[in-house]
């Protein structure tokens, strides 16, 4: 089985006016299928940038990156969009649900890009909501849900198209400890029972404890053993 993620000499440099801002300076990383990886490090060390590259939200400026067997360097925006919809689920710190849609419809959103029938889409959305334990809140809008519930809806949305990889950027950063634990247990369950590969950026060492392993970043580099030499 191919690795979920392979990065070799991965670089990202932002251009601000005339200034070049090197953010990732040679990342070497391999993540196996079924892994649950926590990515830690100080603010500004490049965690989000790395996660965005792995999730195909941004283009690298150097090196190689292969995710789910697909080399992402040089893909067009359009091809990347399609690839994301089929291969990656995203979970953010601030949930990023659409406030005008109820929970059920938020979850259904990614399926609008598939060929599934309306009925099938609805059924899948309901299943995803059941998995995260929110079937009874399907008709609620995000504004009518607590933070933890909103994050569950977001997780259901990330699940619904059944991607193998889930990337989470500080998924518990906005939640109190107990709620955070519930969300982390949910992620653990998805990893253990549903075989999802999970990469989670976090500040919180207690959150990292839920992962199978932890990597540390500093100033655009991985600093822990576990990264490829």
């Amino acid at each position: 089985m191919t690795a979920a993620v392979v990065c070799r000499g991965l670089e990202k440099t932002y251009v601000k006016g005339r200034e070049q801002v090197p953010v990732l300076t040679g990342i070497n990383l391999e993540i196996e299928q079924g892994d649950f990886l926590a990515l830690m490090g100080p603010s500004g060390s490049g965690k989000t940038t790395l996660l965005n590259l792995i999730g195909g939200l941004d283009h690298p400026t150097g090196g190689e990156i292969e995710v789910e067997g697909q080399s992402l360097g040089g893909m067009s925006n359009k091809a990347l969009a399609r690839w994301r919809s089929e291969n990656v689920g995203f979970i953010f710190q601030f949930y990023n649900l659409l406030p005008v849609l109820n929970a059920q419809r938020n979850v259904e959103l990614p399926l609008l890009l598939t060929k599934l029938s309306r009925k099938q889409r609805q059924a899948n959305a309901e299943t995803a909501l059941e998995i995260v334990g929110l079937a009874d809140r399907a008709r609620h809008k995000p504004g009518e849900l607590s933070g933890g519930q909103q994050q569950r809806v977001a997780i259901a949305r990330a699940l619904v198209a059944d991607p193998r990889l889930m990337v989470c950027d500080e998924p518990t950063g906005d939640l109190d400890r107990d709620t955070a634990d519930e969300i982390l247990e949910l992620l653990q369950m998805l990893n253990a029972d549903h075989g999802k590969t999970i990469i989670m950026v976090t500040h919180d060492p207690r959150a990292a404890d839920h992962a199978k392993r932890t990597l540390h970043m500093d100033k655009g580099k991985l600093v822990t053993a576990g990264a490829l030499a």
Binding site: G55, K78, A81, R84, L98, P99, V100
Partner: protein, 386 residues
């Protein structure tokens, strides 16, 4: 849910704002459809009135006769379209109390110039032109005297005797004419000018008035002056007026009305585009992170473009349909209320379709900038901003 459902849901993110925008678009198109109907009604009015006709008579007196030779000179003036002529024949039908005007005319040019008149039965004009002693009459005369096609009508030539020494002119009725099925308040008896010209004892090759059509109502004064200048120093000076000065004044006001209508609509649409455009841009700015989420989930740049464009389009077309639909609904009532002011006032399906097309154009115009912004939005930048 479908993509359309998503567009719809987004439209109602701020219900009040959307409803107000929808209302303003709707009112704009209500106004548009009504004004459009009014200007169509105006156009209709202009067509039936003979406002582009000039009448040339003798300068000093209406009874002065004009030489037939003036015809070609008048026709050669720029802006003159068609010309015909009338003459006062006088004459009596059975009893002096039976008063109606009898004109010797040139059949073809007369009915070309007075194109609003309909001749019946079919083929009447051809017979009138062909048969020397043929006559046609206003339908109200035929009704009053019980004349039918084929009747021979005797007229005593009180002014003009025939050159055979008799005064009896006999005409065979070949048709009747009417305007929109109705007779005139000043009904005419028309007969063949050539017959008159050949048979009259005196007064041949002369006409009472020239009536001519011009290409452009606005040039009426100019052309009238040119005609009068042409004959000023001849033995037969002329005085040219519009067929109905009041009519022409009316036509000018109609022209102004059309202009005012256009100005009002331009102002309305300018405001609508500015207002709705601003609302759309504002709505977009609030939604930058959401659009980035859609892109994250795999919606392509062009799908996002169409989602945003679709919102503007739906809002405007819906407003346009509601506004123009309301106008159609109000049309019959307004038509009754305004009867007499405008000839006919109707919000036609054509106007509705034009309103729909225009509202789609407005929607595209308003939606384009936000849609392009949404399309170009880079996901990572949007999240950093949000």
């Amino acid at each position: 849910m479908s993509l359309l459902g998503l567009v719809w849901a987004n439209l109602f993110r701020k219900r009040t704002r959307t409803v107000l925008t929808l209302l303003s678009v709707m009112i704009a198109f209500l106004l548009f459809a009504l004004l459009q109907a009014v200007s169509v009604a105006f156009d209709g009015g202009v067509e039936v009135d003979g406002t582009n006709r000039l009448v040339v008579g003798g300068k000093y007196s209406q009874i002065d006769q004009l030489p037939y030779s003036q015809k070609q000179q008048i026709l050669s003036l720029d802006g003159v379209d068609k010309i015909t002529h009338t003459s006062w024949f006088g004459g009596e039908y059975q009893d002096p109390k039976n008063f109606f005007a009898k004109f010797p005319v040139d059949p073809e040019s007369y009915f070309e110039v007075y194109s609003e008149l309909d001749l019946e039965p079919a083929g009447a004009l051809e017979r009138f032109a062909r048969e020397r002693t043929a006559a046609v009459v206003d339908i109200s005369l035929a009704q009053e005297y019980g004349w039918e096609v084929g009747d021979v009508i005797p007229i005593q030539g009180t002014i003009y005797p025939k050159n055979d020494g008799t005064r009896l002119w006999e005409f065979e009725l070949v048709g009747t004419f009417s305007e929109n099925g109705e007779g005139s308040d000043f009904p005419l008896f028309l007969f063949h000018f050539e017959y008159f010209n050949e048979a009259t004892l005196f007064g041949a090759d002369q006409v009472g008035n020239w009536t001519l059509t011009i290409d452009d109502v606005e040039r009426a004064d100019e052309i009238a002056n040119q005609i009068d200048a042409l004959f000023e120093n001849s033995s037969d000076p002329t005085r040219t007026t519009t067929e109905d000065e009041a009519n022409r004044q009316f036509a000018r006001q109609l022209g102004d009305m059309g202009f005012i209508t256009t100005m009002i609509m331009s102002a309305v649409f300018f405001t609508i585009i500015l207002l709705t455009g601003n609302t759309m841009s504002q709505a977009l700015r609030e939604r930058i992170p959401e659009l980035a989420v859609l892109k994250t989930l795999g919606f392509t740049d062009s799908t996002v473009l169409f989602l945003v464009l679709g919102e503007a389009l739906i809002l405007c077309v819906l407003g346009g349909a509601l506004g123009a639909g309301l106008a159609m609904f109000m049309g019959p009532g307004m038509s009754a209320a305004l009867e007499g002011v405008f000839g006919s006032f109707e919000v036609t399906p054509d106007i509705f379709v034009i309103a729909l097309g225009l509202s789609a154009a407005v929607g595209l115009l308003i939606g384009l900038l936000p849609a392009l912004t949404a399309q170009r939005l880079a996901i990572v930048d949007a999240f950093r901003r949000g």
